[in-house]
């Protein structure tokens, strides 16, 4: 099955509905669409934040995400997958990233979105800096996030190097 895949890393906001339409428009084999949108919250563990700044490694970030999208497309029968991840300064309430998966059946769309989100929220090639009232701090990798992402490790041979 040929999967339409799109990966974009951009500073501009995105419109999830437009990304869904770009995959499903004019076709009648899509039965299930799952979208996940990650939004910048106004607090971190109860402490208010002024903004989030995301840094990435241009070129490597795209390649790494594309590799995981290709893996999802190999593991589940997907019609389309779109991943958009923003970089730069993001204010509370603004979207950070988005995953859209489209399939004929809901289980494939759902599992593929879950798989990609686990990766994107934990090991995607971004570094997050949080701006609080007392200055900016880099966010450290969380063990619980790594565990969630580890659920999928059995089939991901590349993960040994990460």
């Amino acid at each position: 099955m040929t999967t339409i895949t799109t990966v974009r890393i951009q500073s501009e906001p995105f419109v999830t509905a437009a990304e869904v339409a770009a995959i499903t428009r004019g076709r009648t084999d899509a039965g299930a669409v799952v979208t996940f949108t990650g939004i910048c919250r106004g607090d971190e563990n109860g402490v208010p934040i002024a903004s989030l700044t995301l840094e990435h490694y241009p070129g490597m970030a795209e390649a790494e995400i594309e590799r995981h999208v290709a893996e999802a497309a190999a593991r589940w029968p997907l019609i389309g997958v779109t991943v958009i991840h923003r970089f730069g300064r993001i204010l509370p309430g603004d979207d950070i990233m988005m995953v859209v998966t489209v399939s004929s059946h809901r289980a494939a769309a759902f599992e593929a979105a879950d798989f990609l989100m686990d990766y994107l929220k934990t090991r995607a090639p971004f570094w997050k800096q949080v701006e609080k009232t007392d200055g900016k701090i880099w966010v450290e990798a969380k063990a619980t996030d790594d565990e969630a992402a580890g659920r999928w490790a059995a089939a991901g041979k590349h993960q040994a190097a990460e």
Binding site: E55, P125, F126, A141, D145, A161
Partner: protein, 85 residues
């Protein structure tokens, strides 16, 4: 050996620059040895690489381990563990 180095997040902040071109002595053959050599280049480098275990590396945009050889590398990047979006 001539190399392009790139730094991200707090590694970049501590070193004070996003990238640089370096000429590495022939005795430096692995990513781990490159980190040790860099740490000896001054206070800002020593600070950035003071705990090499938390620093991740990529050769030509692919994740590598400290024991990976640097022979043939074009661009080597150092950064903290990625934290996702």
């Amino acid at each position: 050996m001539k190399l392009k180095l790139r730094y991200f997040a707090w590694v970049r902040e501590r070193i004070g620059k996003p990238d640089e071109d370096v000429d590495v002595p022939d005795t430096v053959t692995t990513v781990g040895e490159l980190m040790s050599w860099l740490a000896s280049r001054g206070e800002e480098y020593a600070h950035a690489f003071q705990n090499p275990k938390v620093i991740r590396a990529a050769i030509d945009r692919t994740h590598v381990k400290p024991q990976t050889a640097i022979a043939g590398a074009g661009e080597i990047a150092f950064f903290p563990p990625m934290t996702g979006g």
